[in-house]
């Protein structure tokens, strides 16, 4: 047994986050840790990494009971974590990042030749030796950065790798590559804890699943002896109905029409979206999906083409122009672009149209509160109080606050970029419901998503991007068709 955590309990103040939780990992095993947001997965992993200390319980590494007091201890026990938010220093090169704090040196001077050699050795191990050790980490794609992190972990002789939502920012191809690496690591006897919300993936790469719910250990299942439904039941503790709500929007007039749109990295984009319609945009990471949304919203500079809203030409030089025209944009990066984390739910929910709640620049607190409370009720935002800082909410509820912000401007068009990223199963279903209701009320929706099932189930039509160009728009499509188009197999 590589790792055995038993009877782990942890409380933050009066709040019990973990109660008597068990978790074990064997060599060469990929063990999924699942549970809704707030179930205690992160806390459990933080205890394993020494970020938090357990109040009770024991951790054994290779059968020996150990005390992990701080993150410095983990190296000694061969435990490494690949964070969801990658931790490379963008200005340093790949090899400098890999050997940060333990640079090979001679007489206090860094031995770059040796460092480069060793770096290549580990990159080779992962089959990514085509990566230049001298390139700045910031220049790499997220997928490549993740590979570098894994290589770094291996160079630290890690036997236990914790991967937190490793595929969240990866393209389909990069995901395949990652899975190949995981398989290879398994064969070397490395144990992997795989934290993810993506059921399809887990059934593909994992050997075992452990489920947490509300800080309690619900159970452990062999992957071959369980199924999707059972795991979801264990996670939510109840039957959830369909994953995706039934769509029955009535399509109206054309709301948004885009012709020959181009910015610095995309060109030749043509589509129209009707009131009540959901246009999905699929494609690989870096294919230019988000760029379409950013150009419409006035973040990226439009180099060519025409955008029409309700038949009127629209030119947005900055986001405020788009907002004034009735366009909302749920960005992909909630924490950095969507919310002011230190502000309250109330203030975030009214950030895009604060002036509408004010006269002569003075805010009507009661009126503002009333509107916010209505949105909280309508979208089932779970917060004790609208005055709580939005960062205290779970990912799904934070995302609902972002939706609330845009509903406040009564949008004609809503642009969604990865609307359910980092949102748990229950929260996803609720967000799908919100998207559906918005479409029904006549909003035209353009949605970029990397989760194919989501795009397929929610969209009326799907635009597929390939290398900055539009590979096609499909009304009826299977996952295979879309993947073929996205990988350039359709001409």
């Amino acid at each position: 047994m590589l790792i055995k955590m038993s009877g782990i309990s942890k409380a933050f103040g009066p709040v019990k986050v973990l109660e008597n939780v068990e978790f074990s990992l064997e060599r060469g095993q990929v063990h999924a840790l699942m549970g809704e947001n707030g179930a205690g997965k992160s806390t459990l992993m933080k205890i394993l990494c020494g970020v938090h200390q357990a109040d009770q319980g024991q951790i054994a590494v290779d059968g020996k009971t150990v005390k992990i007091h701080s993150t410095n201890d983990t190296e000694q026990y061969g435990i490494a974590i690949i964070h969801q938010e990658l931790n490379l220093i963008p200005q340093l090169s790949v090899m400098e990042n890999m050997f940060l704090g333990r640079e090979p040196q001679r007489f206090g001077v860094i031995n770059s030749i040796k460092m480069r050699e060793q770096c290549l050795e580990y990159l080779q191990l992962l089959g990514i030796e085509n990566l230049d050790p001298d390139i700045e980490a910031g220049q790499l794609s997220i997928g490549q950065q993740q590979m570098v992190e894994i290589a770094k972990a291996l160079s630290l002789n890690a036997q236990t790798l914790i991967m937190d939502e490793p595929t969240a920012a990866l393209s389909e191809r990069e995901t395949e590559k990652l899975f190949a690496i995981i398989a290879d690591l398994k064969s070397r006897g490395v144990g992997i804890v795989y934290v993810s919300h993506r059921m399809e993936e887990i059934f593909k790469v994992c050997d075992k699943i452990s489920v947490l719910r509300d800080g309690q250990f619900v159970g452990e299942r062999e992957i071959v002896k369980t199924n999707f439904d059972e795991i979801v039941r264990m996670m939510v503790g109840r039957e959830i109905g369909d994953r995706f709500p039934v769509r029955n929007a009535q399509l109206g007039e054309i709301r948004l029409k885009v012709s020959d749109l181009a910015d610095a990295s995309i060109s030749g984009i043509n589509f129209e979206v009707r009131a009540g319609e959901v246009l999905g945009i699929a494609g690989l990471m870096g294919a230019g999906r988000s760029e379409i949304l950013k150009t419409i919203f006035g973040i990226n500079r439009k180099l060519a083409g025409r955008i029409e809203l309700d038949g009127q030409a629209l030119n947005c030089n900055q986001p405020s122009d788009a907002i004034a025209a009735g366009i909302g944009f749920v960005t992909e990066d909630r924490k950095n672009q969507g919310l002011v984390l230190g502000m309250s739910v109330r203030e975030n929910a009214t950030l895009a149209n604060l002036s509408a709640h004010a006269s002569y620049g003075v805010i009507h607190h009661a009126r503002q509160m009333q509107v916010v409370q209505r949105e909280i009720d309508r979208m089932h935002i779970r917060t004790r109080d609208a005055e709580l800082e939005v960062q205290s909410l779970s990912g799904g509820n934070q995302q609902k606050v972002v939706f609330a912000k845009w509903l406040g401007i009564a949008p004609k068009v809503l642009l969604l970029d990865e609307p359910t990223r980092g949102v748990d199963v229950g929260g996803k279903a609720e967000i799908y419901q919100i998207i559906n209701e918005l479409a029904q009320s006549g909003v035209a929706i353009v949605m970029v998503s990397s989760e194919l099932p989501e795009v397929l189930a929610l969209s009326d039509r799907i635009l597929v991007m390939h290398q900055g160009r539009q590979a096609g728009i499909f009304s009826q499509a299977s996952a295979e068709t879309i993947m073929t188009a996205a990988t350039g197999g359709l001409k």
Partner: protein, 312 residues
């Protein structure tokens, strides 16, 4: 004690420190708790407090304004020159404050449109403006400001008791409190300071907010300059040197975060009072001025360290 109560208590930390300090001084020095002395302290504090109010907005944005001392000096020199040339004192004072606002606006333009780091932009402005005030005044104090109105700004009393500068400070405190708490502009300042990208993507004109904030900071520095010049009956081209640091200290002591997005104007008032009372108390206790500086520095560091420890 729930989370919110704890947060409130934490916010009141500087206020509690002020009470402790005041109580301590009241016990050790019989001269401290007299109406005359307290009003004196308030009047001394008013100049730093006015600058610190503007600085609070700047720091809430995650910025810094090093040029306030130079703005104070140049606007004072301008007003004094106008007064000595017989221009109407109300006009001269207004133009002085507006000139300060203009200098602040220049800061804001360089920072927002030119995308220069606030530290650098205001450092450059600090040097330029100091040079201008020395140039305009030939490096000499400008005196002979014969105006009752102007003398009243720094030396007058309302109801024969409360100094005019204290009234100005309290009125500006109320205005800033209201603006930060209740207006769209104020909340946008917090939003831009908390997460500029999210604010911009929510349609907030972040450049405009920045320009306004630095403009206000300049106006407040100039206002403080009017009071100082009035009290001294002359404009000193070297006035206000180092005032930016006292203002920053007041803001930080009051619990406003240097990274932006968090803080309040009440804290700044308390911070300014803390520094003022500390100065006053150390004087009353006869501590040498060399040691006064050491003690002031230690208090600032301690306050911030305590704040850190609390937040963990």
């Amino acid at each position: 004690m729930n989370v919110q109560q704890k947060a409130t208590l934490q916010k009141l930390g500087p206020f509690l420190a002020l009470l402790v300090l005041a109580t301590g001084l009241a016990i050790t020095s019989p001269d401290f708790l007299t109406v005359g002395n307290l009003l004196n302290v308030f009047r001394q504090v008013s100049i730093n407090a006015l600058i610190a109010f503007g600085m609070t907005l700047v720091i809430l944005l995650g910025g810094i304004d090093l040029s306030v001392g130079s703005i104070l000096a140049l606007s004072s020199v301008l007003t004094a020159l106008m007064l000595s040339h017989g221009i109407d004192p109300v006009v001269a004072t207004s133009v002085g404050v507006l000139a300060g606002a203009g200098m602040g606006m220049l800061n804001g333009l360089v920072i927002s449109k030119g995308k220069v780091a606030p530290f650098i932009a205001t450092l450059g402005m600090m040097t330029i403006l100091r040079g201008r005030s020395l140039g305009l005044s030939d490096g000499r104090p400008i005196s002979g400001l014969h105006s009752d109105f102007f003398a009243m700004l720094g030396g007058g009393y309302v109801a024969g008791l409360i100094p005019v500068p204290v009234i100005i400070m309290l009125v500006m405190f109320a205005v800033f409190w209201f603006v930060l708490k209740k207006t769209v502009f104020g909340r946008h300042v917090y939003a831009v300071g908390g997460n500029e990208e999210a604010a911009r993507l929510s349609g907030i004109n972040t450049d405009r907010i920045k320009i306004w904030v630095y403009t206000l900071s300049g106006a407040m520095a100039a206002t403080a300059g009017m009071i100082l010049t009035s009290r001294l009956s002359s404009a000193q081209p070297t006035a206000g040197t180092g005032y930016e640091l006292d203002a920053i200290a007041a803001v930080v002591l009051g619990g406003t975060s240097l990274t932006g997005g968090r803080g309040w104007i009440f804290g700044t008032l308390v911070g300014a009072l803390l520094i003022g009372i500390l100065n006053n108390g150390l004087n009353l206790l006869g501590v040498s001025s060399f040691y006064q500086q050491v003690i002031k520095g230690v208090v600032i560091l301690l306050a911030v360290l305590l704040d850190r420890a609390n937040k963990k």
